[in-house]
Symmetry: C2
Subunit: 317 residues, 2 copies
């Protein structure tokens, strides 16, 4: 397939870099200020060099990517809340051209899920978004194969930054501020870590999962989730938990009508007590008990594999 990639951060660049290995051709890439397009396939190496050295991917206007020749648009621009723009607009542009959309950007399917599905229904294109929940872990594909109606509940540890901070606090007996600074130095936490440590990122993923499980019965948005982050978890809480053979993890849960994220006590060594930046999702199924899926929840190449798996599952137009 021919792919137009909107967003040239870590994920967008990884998708452009790996697309060829999956048999696809990148015909356009856009960042916030520019674009490059070539119906026969762009020079990806040149693009990556140019982005690194000049801070932009090309010399055309960004919208040139939306107008380019492509079969599927990969939306990998930064997640935005509320109206989910400009990402939502890119989804609309692709579907109105009867093209497919593969999302890594959580905004459109967390904040405007019903709008996205409505546009999809009127289009010959399909929308997929595996990369928005759990990075490389095939959560949504598994839900899709099982049948969303056969999943009675889901829970998970879905934010690697928060998980890393809690793991380190417990392992080293250090305080939150100290470990957060350490995580920022290591590149595991952003300069502005709020999205991760306040639970917003995990909540968006749970909202997306809730939307998929609801199968159109109702639509969730971030504001429907009860969210508590890890900023108030004291080192002493972890010590106390440790003495009792437990630890603390930022756990997201989707069950019934509830979407909730918050710190939870989990037994040491249990499935949810994942270490470092590993993510895990537990699906409770109607007939087959509990299914655990764990792996790397974030990272350029990791998220790109989810995007490219999705491209592989798109129907031929």
């Amino acid at each position: 397939m021919k792919l137009a990639v909107v967003g040239a951060g870590v994920v967008g660049q990884s998708v452009a870099e790996l697309a060829g290995e999956y048999g696809h051709t990148v015909t356009a890439v856009a960042d916030s200020s520019s674009a490059v397009a070539d119906a026969d396939g762009i020079d990806v190496d040149a693009l990556l060099d140019r982005k690194r050295e000049e801070g932009r991917v090309g010399s055309e206007a960004p919208d040139a990517a939306l107008d380019a020749e492509y079969d599927a648009l990969v939306e990998a621009s930064p997640t935005t809340l509320g109206d989910a723009q400009p990402g939502f607009g890119h989804v609309r542009a692709a579907l109105e051209r009867d093209r497919h959309v593969v999302l890594a950007n959580k905004g459109p399917v967390a904040e405007r899920y019903d709008d996205v599905r409505e546009l999809e229904a009127e289009s010959a294109g399909s929308v997929r978004f595996e990369a928005t929940v759990g990075g490389a872990i095939p959560v949504l594909s598994t839900v899709e194969d099982f049948g969303p109606g056969n999943i009675t509940a889901a829970r998970g540890v879905l934010n690697g930054t928060a998980n890393f901070v809690l793991s380190r606090m417990a392992a080293e007996g250090l305080g939150y501020e100290h470990v957060l600074a350490e995580a920022q130095d290591m590149g595991v936490a952003e300069a502005d870590p709020a999205f991760d440590v306040e639970g917003t990122d995990a909540a968006l993923k749970c909202v997306i999962l809730a939307n998929v499980l609801a199968q159109g019965e109702r639509t969730y948005r971030l504001e429907d989730a009860e969210v508590e982050g890890i900023t108030d978890v004291p080192g002493s809480a972890l010590e106390l938990a440790g003495a009792d053979g437990r630890t603390v993890r930022l756990v997201g849960e989707v069950s019934g009508d509830t979407v909730r994220v918050g710190p939870r006590l989990v037994p040491d060594g249990s499935s949810l007590a994942v270490a470092g930046t590993t993510n895990i999702v537990q699906l409770e199924t109607e007939r087959a008990g509990r299914l655990n899926l764990s792996g790397r929840g974030a990272g350029g190449p990791e998220t790109a594999t989810a995007v490219l798996s999705d491209v592989g599952r798109l129907p031929e137009r």
Copy 2:
């Protein structure tokens, strides 16, 4: 889709029972001595009663199922080795009619993988076999979505009976014979448990996985696997391991050209130290590190969900 189910043991009966929930119609069921067929859909409840009370599913000859009206044949007869008959013959019959095949029977894809793929290539029907590896755990779908070429190795604990026996030996400090007898009483081990405790069942699953990962480069059969079971693991080995924070699990590994099953020391609390009859598969990926998938590896409803997920992934004929 219309389904013909060949094999009316635990798995076949579960598939017949659950097919309606997934939107499919069962138009034929066969056991080893009889069949029942109805192009508009058989009475599944009546069939289950008849099987339970009379030991047979219908009053027609078994081959009536192969001749019935159906879109996909579900092959759920007992796994046989070598020529994999009569299961292989059922696969051939369906493909020669340009119908799909969904296998729960491991024989054809463990012992005659190239023959199956050849028949599939000449047919309008497709062959899927998720249920043959890891029961309800979506191993093969995940490999398919990732791209088999992107999986560099796989390992797993794939036999619940062996796992249960080893878990109990370690937990209770009891000997193998004692725990095996217990497992047989509980229905976790068969009256003739050889297939499970000698590692054959786990090896067949690993051979199937190796065939999928090899993508046609070479074909593996059971005889290509190095197989050691748990019959010689003494209680003392588990005690010694326990004192060192480890335990023993029957681990299957597929990497490079090697397919191997045998008892391995694994750290207590690690991913491979699954408890009871839980199965786990670890996939090492090219770009996304290690992916862990765990859940119920066996059981009627569990395996039936894998079969029905496969039916959902079949292309329209």
